[in-house]
Protein backbone atom coordinates (compact mmCIF):
# COMPACT_ATOMS: atom_id res chain seq x y z
CA UNK A 1 0.00 0.00 0.00
CA UNK A 2 1.40 3.40 -0.98
CA UNK A 3 2.08 5.86 1.83
CA UNK A 4 1.18 9.55 1.84
CA UNK A 5 2.53 11.93 4.46
CA UNK A 6 0.10 14.78 5.11
CA UNK A 7 1.76 17.74 6.86
CA UNK A 8 -1.16 19.94 7.94
CA UNK A 9 -2.07 21.50 11.28
CA UNK A 10 -5.85 21.51 10.70
CA UNK A 11 -7.33 18.53 12.52
CA UNK A 12 -10.52 18.69 10.40
CA UNK A 13 -8.53 18.24 7.21
CA UNK A 14 -6.36 15.51 8.70
CA UNK A 15 -9.51 13.56 9.47
CA UNK A 16 -11.23 14.16 6.14
CA UNK A 17 -8.12 13.32 4.10
CA UNK A 18 -7.35 10.28 6.25
CA UNK A 19 -10.83 8.90 5.53
CA UNK A 20 -10.89 9.63 1.83
CA UNK A 21 -7.34 8.49 1.12
CA UNK A 22 -7.96 5.21 2.93
CA UNK A 23 -11.10 4.62 0.82
CA UNK A 24 -8.91 5.24 -2.24
CA UNK A 25 -6.48 2.59 -1.05
CA UNK A 26 -3.67 4.72 0.36
CA UNK A 27 -2.16 4.76 3.81
CA UNK A 28 -2.01 8.24 5.30
CA UNK A 29 0.50 9.37 7.90
CA UNK A 30 -0.30 12.61 9.73
CA UNK A 31 2.09 15.31 10.83
CA UNK A 32 0.64 18.34 12.60
CA UNK A 33 3.67 20.61 12.41
CA UNK A 34 6.71 21.18 10.23
CA UNK A 35 9.23 19.56 12.55
CA UNK A 36 7.25 16.33 12.91
CA UNK A 37 6.72 16.39 9.15
CA UNK A 38 10.45 16.47 8.41
CA UNK A 39 11.13 13.72 10.96
CA UNK A 40 8.37 11.45 9.60
CA UNK A 41 9.46 12.03 6.01
CA UNK A 42 12.87 10.64 6.84
CA UNK A 43 11.74 7.72 9.00
CA UNK A 44 8.65 6.63 7.04
CA UNK A 45 9.87 7.29 3.47
CA UNK A 46 6.40 8.03 2.08
CA UNK A 47 5.65 7.81 -1.66
CA UNK A 48 4.18 11.32 -1.63
CA UNK A 49 4.04 14.34 0.68
CA UNK A 50 1.16 16.82 0.85
CA UNK A 51 2.45 19.95 2.54
CA UNK A 52 0.69 23.03 3.92
CA UNK A 53 2.69 26.27 4.12
CA UNK A 54 1.41 27.92 7.28
CA UNK A 55 2.54 25.44 9.91
CA UNK A 56 3.53 25.62 13.57
CA UNK A 57 7.22 25.36 14.50
CA UNK A 58 8.59 25.27 10.95
CA UNK A 59 7.17 27.09 7.91
CA UNK A 60 6.19 24.88 4.98
CA UNK A 61 8.84 26.41 2.70
CA UNK A 62 11.49 25.56 5.31
CA UNK A 63 10.15 22.01 5.45
CA UNK A 64 10.34 21.80 1.65
CA UNK A 65 13.92 23.09 1.71
CA UNK A 66 14.82 20.53 4.38
CA UNK A 67 13.23 17.73 2.36
CA UNK A 68 15.12 18.64 -0.80
CA UNK A 69 18.46 19.05 1.04
CA UNK A 70 18.25 15.57 2.53
CA UNK A 71 19.27 12.82 0.11
CA UNK A 72 16.89 10.39 1.86
CA UNK A 73 13.84 12.52 1.06
CA UNK A 74 14.99 14.51 -1.96
CA UNK A 75 13.13 12.43 -4.55
CA UNK A 76 9.76 12.23 -2.81
CA UNK A 77 7.21 14.29 -4.80
CA UNK A 78 5.71 17.15 -2.80
CA UNK A 79 2.29 18.70 -3.41
CA UNK A 80 1.85 22.09 -1.76
CA UNK A 81 -1.71 22.54 -0.52
CA UNK A 82 -2.24 25.94 1.03
CA UNK A 83 -4.43 29.00 1.35
CA UNK A 84 -1.61 31.29 0.24
CA UNK A 85 -2.10 32.20 -3.38
CA UNK A 86 0.59 34.87 -3.70
CA UNK A 87 2.82 34.62 -6.73
CA UNK A 88 5.88 35.00 -4.51
CA UNK A 89 5.10 31.85 -2.50
CA UNK A 90 4.18 29.88 -5.62
CA UNK A 91 7.42 30.77 -7.38
CA UNK A 92 9.51 30.06 -4.30
CA UNK A 93 7.89 26.66 -3.71
CA UNK A 94 8.34 25.61 -7.35
CA UNK A 95 11.94 26.80 -7.32
CA UNK A 96 12.59 24.72 -4.21
CA UNK A 97 11.33 21.64 -6.04
CA UNK A 98 7.62 21.26 -5.27
CA UNK A 99 5.83 19.07 -7.84
CA UNK A 100 2.49 20.89 -7.74
CA UNK A 101 1.17 23.99 -6.01
CA UNK A 102 -2.53 24.06 -5.14
CA UNK A 103 -4.51 26.87 -3.52
CA UNK A 104 -7.14 25.23 -1.31
CA UNK A 105 -10.01 27.49 -2.27
CA UNK A 106 -9.55 26.76 -5.99
CA UNK A 107 -10.00 22.99 -5.83
CA UNK A 108 -12.58 20.43 -4.86
CA UNK A 109 -11.67 17.34 -2.90
CA UNK A 110 -11.99 15.26 -6.08
CA UNK A 111 -9.51 17.52 -7.90
CA UNK A 112 -7.01 17.02 -5.12
CA UNK A 113 -7.41 13.25 -5.03
CA UNK A 114 -6.88 13.22 -8.81
CA UNK A 115 -3.64 15.22 -8.45
CA UNK A 116 -2.51 12.89 -5.66
CA UNK A 117 -3.12 9.82 -7.80
CA UNK A 118 -1.31 11.40 -10.74
CA UNK A 119 1.69 12.48 -8.68
CA UNK A 120 2.01 9.12 -6.93
CA UNK A 121 1.86 7.11 -10.14
CA UNK A 122 4.39 9.17 -12.08
Amino acid sequence: MKKILFIEDEAALQKAFGDILSTEGFQMISAIDGEIGLRLAESEKPNLIILDLILPKLHGLEVLKGLKENKETRNIPVIILTNLGDLENIEQALELGATTYMVKSDYTLDDIIEKVKKAISS
Binding site: E10, A12, L13, A16, D19, I20, T23, N83, L84, D86, L87, K104, S105, T108, L109, D110
Partner: protein
Protein backbone atom coordinates in the same frame (compact mmCIF):
# COMPACT_ATOMS: atom_id res chain seq x y z
CA UNK B 1 9.78 78.24 4.17
CA UNK B 2 13.02 80.03 3.19
CA UNK B 3 11.02 82.24 0.84
CA UNK B 4 8.48 83.13 3.49
CA UNK B 5 11.26 83.88 6.05
CA UNK B 6 12.98 86.18 3.55
CA UNK B 7 9.66 87.82 2.71
CA UNK B 8 8.99 88.47 6.39
CA UNK B 9 12.52 89.83 6.80
CA UNK B 10 12.06 92.32 3.96
CA UNK B 11 8.61 93.35 5.20
CA UNK B 12 10.09 93.69 8.72
CA UNK B 13 12.96 95.99 7.71
CA UNK B 14 10.50 98.08 5.76
CA UNK B 15 8.40 98.74 8.89
CA UNK B 16 11.02 98.63 11.65
CA UNK B 17 14.49 100.15 12.00
CA UNK B 18 15.53 97.81 14.79
CA UNK B 19 17.21 94.74 13.22
CA UNK B 20 16.94 92.78 16.48
CA UNK B 21 13.14 93.00 16.47
CA UNK B 22 13.04 92.02 12.80
CA UNK B 23 15.30 89.02 13.47
CA UNK B 24 13.11 88.05 16.40
CA UNK B 25 9.95 88.19 14.29
CA UNK B 26 11.62 86.16 11.52
CA UNK B 27 12.73 83.58 14.06
CA UNK B 28 9.28 83.40 15.61
CA UNK B 29 7.52 83.00 12.25
CA UNK B 30 10.06 80.39 11.09
CA UNK B 31 9.56 78.37 14.28
CA UNK B 32 5.81 78.55 13.76
CA UNK B 33 6.13 77.37 10.14
CA UNK B 34 8.40 74.49 11.20
CA UNK B 35 5.74 73.39 13.68
CA UNK B 36 3.00 73.53 11.01
CA UNK B 37 5.20 71.56 8.57
CA UNK B 38 5.95 68.97 11.19
CA UNK B 39 2.30 68.41 12.08
CA UNK B 40 1.29 68.15 8.38
CA UNK B 41 4.01 65.53 7.74
CA UNK B 42 2.96 63.62 10.85
CA UNK B 43 -0.69 63.63 9.74
CA UNK B 44 0.25 62.26 6.33
CA UNK B 45 2.38 59.57 7.93
CA UNK B 46 -0.51 58.63 10.21
CA UNK B 47 -2.91 58.46 7.26
CA UNK B 48 -0.51 56.27 5.29
CA UNK B 49 -0.07 54.03 8.31
CA UNK B 50 -3.84 53.68 8.79
CA UNK B 51 -4.31 52.82 5.09
CA UNK B 52 -1.54 50.20 5.33
CA UNK B 53 -2.99 48.74 8.53
CA UNK B 54 -6.45 48.57 6.97
CA UNK B 55 -5.14 46.78 3.91
CA UNK B 56 -3.05 44.36 6.03
CA UNK B 57 -6.04 43.72 8.27
CA UNK B 58 -8.26 42.76 5.33
CA UNK B 59 -5.52 40.56 3.93
CA UNK B 60 -4.93 38.73 7.24
CA UNK B 61 -8.63 38.32 7.95
CA UNK B 62 -9.25 37.02 4.44
CA UNK B 63 -6.50 34.43 4.76
CA UNK B 64 -7.71 33.37 8.18
CA UNK B 65 -11.29 33.07 6.95
CA UNK B 66 -10.26 31.07 3.92
CA UNK B 67 -8.84 28.21 5.98
CA UNK B 68 -12.04 27.18 7.83
CA UNK B 69 -14.08 27.79 4.66
CA UNK B 70 -11.94 25.37 2.66
CA UNK B 71 -12.28 22.80 5.44
CA UNK B 72 -16.03 23.22 5.43
CA UNK B 73 -16.25 22.92 1.65
CA UNK B 74 -14.15 19.77 1.47
CA UNK B 75 -15.89 18.04 4.32
CA UNK B 76 -19.29 18.76 2.75
CA UNK B 77 -17.89 17.46 -0.58
CA UNK B 78 -16.74 14.33 1.20
CA UNK B 79 -20.15 13.76 2.78
CA UNK B 80 -22.02 14.37 -0.49
CA UNK B 81 -19.72 11.95 -2.35
CA UNK B 82 -21.12 9.13 -0.21
CA UNK B 83 -17.61 7.74 0.21
CA UNK B 84 -17.85 7.76 3.99
CA UNK B 85 -21.34 6.26 4.13
CA UNK B 86 -24.58 6.35 2.21
CA UNK B 87 -26.34 9.74 2.22
CA UNK B 88 -30.08 9.97 1.60
CA UNK B 89 -31.54 12.23 -1.07
CA UNK B 90 -32.98 14.57 1.54
CA UNK B 91 -29.69 14.83 3.37
CA UNK B 92 -27.90 15.49 0.08
CA UNK B 93 -30.27 18.37 -0.64
CA UNK B 94 -29.41 19.98 2.71
CA UNK B 95 -25.72 19.35 2.21
CA UNK B 96 -25.98 21.07 -1.19
CA UNK B 97 -27.38 24.13 0.56
CA UNK B 98 -24.41 24.07 2.94
CA UNK B 99 -22.06 23.77 -0.01
CA UNK B 100 -23.63 26.67 -1.91
CA UNK B 101 -23.46 28.88 1.16
CA UNK B 102 -19.85 28.08 1.87
CA UNK B 103 -19.06 28.78 -1.79
CA UNK B 104 -20.79 32.13 -1.51
CA UNK B 105 -18.80 33.03 1.55
CA UNK B 106 -15.60 31.88 -0.11
CA UNK B 107 -16.36 34.08 -3.11
CA UNK B 108 -16.86 37.07 -0.84
CA UNK B 109 -13.62 36.46 1.02
CA UNK B 110 -11.73 36.07 -2.27
CA UNK B 111 -13.22 39.34 -3.51
CA UNK B 112 -12.16 41.10 -0.30
CA UNK B 113 -8.66 39.73 -0.66
CA UNK B 114 -8.45 40.93 -4.26
CA UNK B 115 -9.74 44.37 -3.26
CA UNK B 116 -7.12 44.64 -0.51
CA UNK B 117 -4.42 43.67 -3.03
CA UNK B 118 -5.71 46.16 -5.60
CA UNK B 119 -5.57 48.89 -2.98
CA UNK B 120 -2.08 47.93 -1.87
CA UNK B 121 -1.10 47.74 -5.57
CA UNK B 122 0.13 44.19 -4.98
CA UNK B 123 -2.25 42.20 -7.17
CA UNK B 124 0.06 40.06 -9.30
CA UNK B 125 -0.49 40.09 -13.07
CA UNK B 126 1.04 37.44 -15.28
CA UNK B 127 0.50 38.68 -18.83
CA UNK B 128 0.74 36.08 -21.55
CA UNK B 129 -0.51 35.89 -25.15
CA UNK B 130 -3.94 34.31 -24.96
CA UNK B 131 -7.27 34.16 -26.71
CA UNK B 132 -10.06 36.40 -25.47
CA UNK B 133 -12.40 34.37 -27.72
CA UNK B 134 -11.56 31.17 -25.82
CA UNK B 135 -12.04 32.96 -22.51
CA UNK B 136 -15.47 34.31 -23.44
CA UNK B 137 -16.65 30.95 -24.84
CA UNK B 138 -15.55 29.02 -21.77
CA UNK B 139 -17.19 31.56 -19.45
CA UNK B 140 -20.48 31.30 -21.34
CA UNK B 141 -20.31 27.53 -21.09
CA UNK B 142 -19.69 27.81 -17.36
CA UNK B 143 -22.73 30.01 -16.69
CA UNK B 144 -25.04 27.81 -18.75
CA UNK B 145 -26.78 26.09 -15.81
CA UNK B 146 -27.24 29.50 -14.26
CA UNK B 147 -28.78 31.00 -17.43
CA UNK B 148 -31.15 28.07 -17.79
CA UNK B 149 -32.31 28.53 -14.22
CA UNK B 150 -32.95 32.24 -14.75
CA UNK B 151 -34.66 31.79 -18.13
CA UNK B 152 -31.99 33.76 -19.92
CA UNK B 153 -30.55 33.22 -23.34
CA UNK B 154 -27.05 34.29 -24.31
CA UNK B 155 -26.32 35.20 -27.90
CA UNK B 156 -22.66 35.24 -28.81
CA UNK B 157 -21.28 37.07 -31.84
CA UNK B 158 -17.58 36.86 -32.53
CA UNK B 159 -15.79 38.53 -35.39
CA UNK B 160 -13.62 36.11 -37.37
CA UNK B 161 -9.83 35.86 -37.13
CA UNK B 162 -9.38 37.86 -33.95
CA UNK B 163 -5.76 37.82 -32.80
CA UNK B 164 -4.47 36.58 -29.44
CA UNK B 165 -3.55 39.44 -27.15
CA UNK B 166 -1.44 39.99 -24.06
CA UNK B 167 -3.33 39.69 -20.75
CA UNK B 168 -3.52 37.74 -17.49
CA UNK B 169 -6.00 34.98 -18.29
CA UNK B 170 -7.10 34.26 -14.74
CA UNK B 171 -7.62 37.92 -13.82
CA UNK B 172 -9.44 38.69 -17.07
CA UNK B 173 -11.65 35.66 -16.52
CA UNK B 174 -12.70 37.19 -13.24
CA UNK B 175 -13.32 40.63 -14.75
CA UNK B 176 -15.44 39.33 -17.64
CA UNK B 177 -17.10 36.79 -15.33
CA UNK B 178 -18.21 39.57 -12.98
CA UNK B 179 -19.75 41.62 -15.81
CA UNK B 180 -21.46 38.59 -17.34
CA UNK B 181 -22.68 37.47 -13.95
CA UNK B 182 -24.31 40.87 -13.37
CA UNK B 183 -25.98 40.75 -16.81
CA UNK B 184 -27.63 37.43 -15.94
CA UNK B 185 -28.22 38.06 -12.25
CA UNK B 186 -30.14 41.29 -12.72
CA UNK B 187 -32.44 40.07 -15.46
CA UNK B 188 -34.98 38.68 -13.05
CA UNK B 189 -36.35 41.97 -11.88
CA UNK B 190 -38.42 42.87 -14.93
CA UNK B 191 -41.78 41.83 -13.63
CA UNK B 192 -44.65 41.63 -16.07
CA UNK B 193 -48.06 41.66 -14.43
CA UNK B 194 -49.89 38.60 -15.74
CA UNK B 195 -53.24 37.06 -15.02
CA UNK B 196 -51.74 34.58 -12.61
CA UNK B 197 -49.62 37.09 -10.79
CA UNK B 198 -46.16 38.24 -11.78
CA UNK B 199 -44.36 36.41 -14.51
CA UNK B 200 -40.81 37.17 -15.42
CA UNK B 201 -39.80 38.37 -18.84
CA UNK B 202 -37.27 36.24 -20.63
CA UNK B 203 -33.74 37.47 -20.23
CA UNK B 204 -31.62 38.20 -23.27
CA UNK B 205 -27.91 38.74 -23.02
CA UNK B 206 -25.91 39.60 -26.08
CA UNK B 207 -22.15 39.18 -26.06
CA UNK B 208 -20.19 40.72 -28.93
CA UNK B 209 -16.47 40.42 -29.42
CA UNK B 210 -14.93 42.45 -32.22
CA UNK B 211 -11.91 44.38 -33.38
CA UNK B 212 -11.99 48.17 -33.26
CA UNK B 213 -8.84 49.77 -34.63
CA UNK B 214 -5.93 48.37 -32.69
CA UNK B 215 -8.08 47.14 -29.81
CA UNK B 216 -10.33 44.17 -29.09
CA UNK B 217 -13.72 45.21 -27.81
CA UNK B 218 -16.08 43.10 -25.75
CA UNK B 219 -19.68 44.20 -25.30
CA UNK B 220 -22.15 42.59 -22.90
CA UNK B 221 -25.68 43.81 -23.37
CA UNK B 222 -28.67 42.78 -21.27
CA UNK B 223 -32.37 43.59 -21.07
CA UNK B 224 -32.36 43.59 -17.29
CA UNK B 225 -33.30 46.07 -14.60
CA UNK B 226 -30.76 48.72 -15.69
CA UNK B 227 -29.08 51.23 -13.41
CA UNK B 228 -31.06 54.24 -12.14
CA UNK B 229 -29.55 57.46 -13.44
CA UNK B 230 -28.67 58.81 -10.00
CA UNK B 231 -26.71 55.64 -9.21
CA UNK B 232 -24.72 55.50 -12.43
CA UNK B 233 -21.86 57.71 -11.26
CA UNK B 234 -21.22 55.40 -8.29
CA UNK B 235 -21.48 52.09 -10.11
CA UNK B 236 -17.74 51.33 -10.12
CA UNK B 237 -17.26 52.26 -6.46
CA UNK B 238 -16.48 49.40 -4.16
CA UNK B 239 -19.36 48.09 -2.03
CA UNK B 240 -21.83 50.19 -4.00
CA UNK B 241 -25.03 48.52 -5.16
CA UNK B 242 -27.70 50.29 -7.18
CA UNK B 243 -30.94 50.90 -5.30
CA UNK B 244 -32.98 48.65 -7.63
CA UNK B 245 -30.32 45.88 -7.51
CA UNK B 246 -30.73 45.37 -3.77
CA UNK B 247 -34.48 44.88 -4.26
CA UNK B 248 -34.06 42.20 -6.93
CA UNK B 249 -31.08 40.39 -5.45
CA UNK B 250 -30.45 40.46 -1.73
CA UNK B 251 -27.07 38.83 -2.29
CA UNK B 252 -24.17 40.76 -3.72
CA UNK B 253 -21.18 42.52 -2.24
CA UNK B 254 -20.95 45.49 -4.58
CA UNK B 255 -17.35 44.51 -5.37
CA UNK B 256 -17.78 42.88 -8.78
CA UNK B 257 -17.62 45.93 -11.01
CA UNK B 258 -14.95 47.61 -8.89
CA UNK B 259 -12.75 44.52 -9.35
CA UNK B 260 -13.59 44.25 -13.07
CA UNK B 261 -12.69 47.90 -13.68
CA UNK B 262 -9.43 47.63 -11.72
CA UNK B 263 -8.35 44.52 -13.63
CA UNK B 264 -9.27 45.98 -17.03
CA UNK B 265 -7.50 49.27 -16.35
CA UNK B 266 -4.43 47.44 -15.04
CA UNK B 267 -4.43 45.57 -18.39
CA UNK B 268 -4.35 48.94 -20.21
CA UNK B 269 -8.01 48.59 -21.08
CA UNK B 270 -10.96 50.95 -20.78
CA UNK B 271 -14.40 50.10 -19.48
CA UNK B 272 -17.62 52.04 -20.01
CA UNK B 273 -21.36 51.47 -19.94
CA UNK B 274 -24.73 52.80 -21.00
CA UNK B 275 -27.82 51.96 -19.04
CA UNK B 276 -31.48 52.82 -18.68
CA UNK B 277 -33.56 51.76 -15.74
CA UNK B 278 -36.03 48.97 -16.60
CA UNK B 279 -34.55 48.61 -20.09
CA UNK B 280 -31.11 47.17 -19.55
CA UNK B 281 -27.40 47.88 -19.53
CA UNK B 282 -24.49 47.50 -21.94
CA UNK B 283 -21.06 47.15 -20.44
CA UNK B 284 -18.16 47.35 -22.87
CA UNK B 285 -14.43 47.26 -22.50
CA UNK B 286 -11.50 47.20 -24.84
CA UNK B 287 -7.94 45.90 -24.62
CA UNK B 288 -4.97 46.84 -26.78
CA UNK B 289 -3.83 44.36 -29.43
CA UNK B 290 -0.15 43.67 -28.81
Amino acid sequence: MITSSLAIYFIGIHYSDDPEIVALIVLFVSAFLIMVDFSIIKSFERLAEVAKMKSEFVSIVSHQLRAPLSNLKWIVDLLISGKIEHVSEKQTAYLQILRENSQRMEGLVSDLLIVSRIEADSLPFKNEKASLVKLVKSLILRVKPFTRASNTEIKLTIEENLPDILFDYERMEQAVGNILDNAIRYIGGVDMPGETGHIKEKGNVEVILKKEGNRLCLEIKDNGIGIPEEDQKHIFQKFFRASNATKVQAQGSGLGLYIAKSIIEKSEGKIYFVSRENEGSTFSFNLPIK
